[in-house]
Structures are given as structure tokens and as C-alpha cells.
Subunit: 184 residues, 2 copies
């Protein structure tokens, strides 16, 4: 069943986002199944990793959809995106830590599409005068993703309360660390 596959994948994300080199034993145990069954579902480690990456990107794409980032005020759109993506921040943490995924052309293409969508949000925001133009849209996009991944790690390790994560992420990214808007 597809449900089984997805639940296993989600358990795998929990382990792999923290330790990309975790053994299959560990992943199987985290998913509540045996290594044999894990092998019955996924042909091998490589296939499992690829599926986890695909799931992560699909969820990220869904978050972009539900946030409707092409609509309305860019700032509000980004806040919606934060709310939509924070619950799956661990997936982004996994994507950030699993650089070997970028060898797969299919995954790479999926990733490129989503990245382009985020970049276009920042570009639109810059054109509408909402986001700063001194920082390139590419850098804004990358930095945003870095912070999402950071939130994923911090929440997983208990350094950041899930309740605060969306607020902390949005406020820091949008407003910065400075209290007064003094940009000398």
C-alpha cells in the first residue's frame, strides 16, 4: 500500500535528516519494521534515499501550492509559506544535508523547479518594492532555505520549540536581528 511506503519514508526522514549516514537497521527500526520488510518495499538504500528526496520535494511543492506564493502581497505570501513549510522543516533539513541527491537528474530537476518558484517570489517582492534589492533574489532564496533547514534541525534537537519556530523564522528572515531599522 502507498500508505505504508509513505509512513516508512517519513520515519526515514526523521532519522536521515539528523544523520545522513544512518544504517538501514536504524531506519527500519525507526519505521517499526524489520530490515527485511524495508528491503521488500525499497530495492536498496539508494532507492530509499531517492524516494525520501522525492517525497520531501513533493511536500515542499505542496507547501508552495498551499501558500499560494504567486498571489497577493509578497510579505504575506512569504509568511504563508513559512507557516506551510515549517511543519515539514525536517524534510528541508534532510534535503540540505543530503548533497549526494544532486546526482539524480530527476530529483535535481524537481529541486530546480521549486527553487525557481521561491526565487520568483523574491523577485516579485523586489519589483513591488517589498523586499530589498541590494540582496539578490538567489541569495534570499538560498538563505531562506538555509534557515528553514536550521529550524528543522533545531526543532528536532529540542533547541527550538515547535511552537516558536514559524514566528522565529519569519521574524528573523523578514525583519532581521536589529531592533531598530538602522542600516548604516
Amino acid at each position: 500500500m502507498a500508505t505504508d511506503r509513505d509512513s516508512v519514508l517519513e520515519a526515514a526522514v526523521g532519522v536521515l535528516s539528523r544523520r545522513p549516514t544512518a544504517h538501514l537497521d536504524e531506519i527500519a527500526r525507526a519505521a517499526g519494521i524489520s530490515r527485511a520488510t524495508l528491503h521488500r518495499i525499497f530495492p536498496g538504500r539508494e532507492a530509499l534515499i531517492r524516494e525520501v528526496g522525492a517525497l520531501s520535494l513533493r511536500k515542499f511543492a505542496t507547501a508552495l501550492d498551499t501558500a499560494a506564493i504567486d498571489t497577493g502581497d509578497p510579505q504575506a505570501a512569504l509568511r504563508r509559506l513559512v507557516d506551510a513549510v515549517v511543519p515539514d522543516a525536517a524534510l528541508c533539513a534532510f534535503l540540505a544535508g543530503e548533497n549526494q541527491l544532486f546526482d539524480d537528474p530527476e530529483i535535481n530537476e524537481l529541486w530546480e523547479i521549486q527553487d525557481e518558484r521561491v526565487r520568483s517570489l523574491f523577485l516579485r517582492g523586489q519589483q513591488e518594492g517589498v523586499f530589498r534589492i541590494e540582496l539578490s533574489a538567489g541569495w534570499l532564496s538560498e538563505a531562506f532555505f538555509d534557515l528553514v533547514a536550521g529550524v528543522g534541525w533545531a526543532v528536532q534537537d529540542g533547541r527550538l520549540a515547535p511552537r516558536d519556530s514559524a514566528y522565529s523564522l519569519a521574524e528573523l528572515f523578514l525583519g532581521g536581528a536589529l531592533r531598530s531599522p538602522d542600516r548604516s
Copy 2:
């Protein structure tokens, strides 16, 4: 000679920050030496990783020293820290990606010390009314480190020009992505 060790370690950082699971062959080739010589310098992979971690933390500590983060205006101090740490951003990228280092108590302690120093800078900045108090000093510290690591990756992969890196990092972190200081 210590010079040899350090040059090998720096080459190792270049490879390991991008791919933490890189083979020793690859690291040796990046350092311009053979795997045999690599083994003559470092007893094994674990020792090499530990030394790279120690070097990274030493350099990070040096950056904190030269930036004199305990002195003067917190904002200026953070800008000095950015300038001091950006040249070694790849080291932070390595530290961020190498979670297994945290098993070593000595490395862990070194890391804790540096993290505490950064956190105290933010705490001081908050007390002096420079940094926002809605965001915890711990989160500011973690997010700052995430962005430094992100800069390291982006520069290594050519997505961010080294010339722009310090500016992009400081401006985004301090001022945020919003053009107008509208914090609704």
C-alpha cells in the same frame, strides 16, 4: 611539519564540507598527496575528521577574537565577526554538516564555548537595545551559524560571489529581507 598537516586539513575541509562522506582517496587527491601519505600524517579517518573539526573550531575562535565581539556596539561587533568569519565560512559549513563530531567530548566542549561566546554577544546586544528581544539569543546564534554555513556552501558552489558574501550575510541577518521596516 605542521604546515603540511594544516594544508592537508584545509584541503580536507574543501571536500568534506561539500560531501561529509567523501572517501579518503578523494581527500588525499584534493590535498595533492597519496592515500599512503595521508595515512602517515593521520592515523585514520576518525582522527582526520577530529583534526579538521578542531582546526575549524580553532579558526572560528580566532575569528571571534579578532572581531573582539565583547567590545563596543554589538551591531558593529557582529559586522566585524561577519568579516572575520566569512573567509572561513567553509569551515562552518563543515561543522554544520558533520554531526558525528558531536560524539567527541573534547570537540563538543570547544564548540560549546564558541557558541556561548556568540550567544553572549546577542544577549548583550539585546540588553543594550540593539538586537530584538522577541527572538531568543539562542535562536539568533543558531540562525547566524546556519547562514554562515549557507554562505560557505553557496560560495563553494559558485552560487554566491566571495566578494558579496560578507555584505549579503550581514545585511540579511541584521536587516532582514524586508525593504521597509514594517513588522506587522
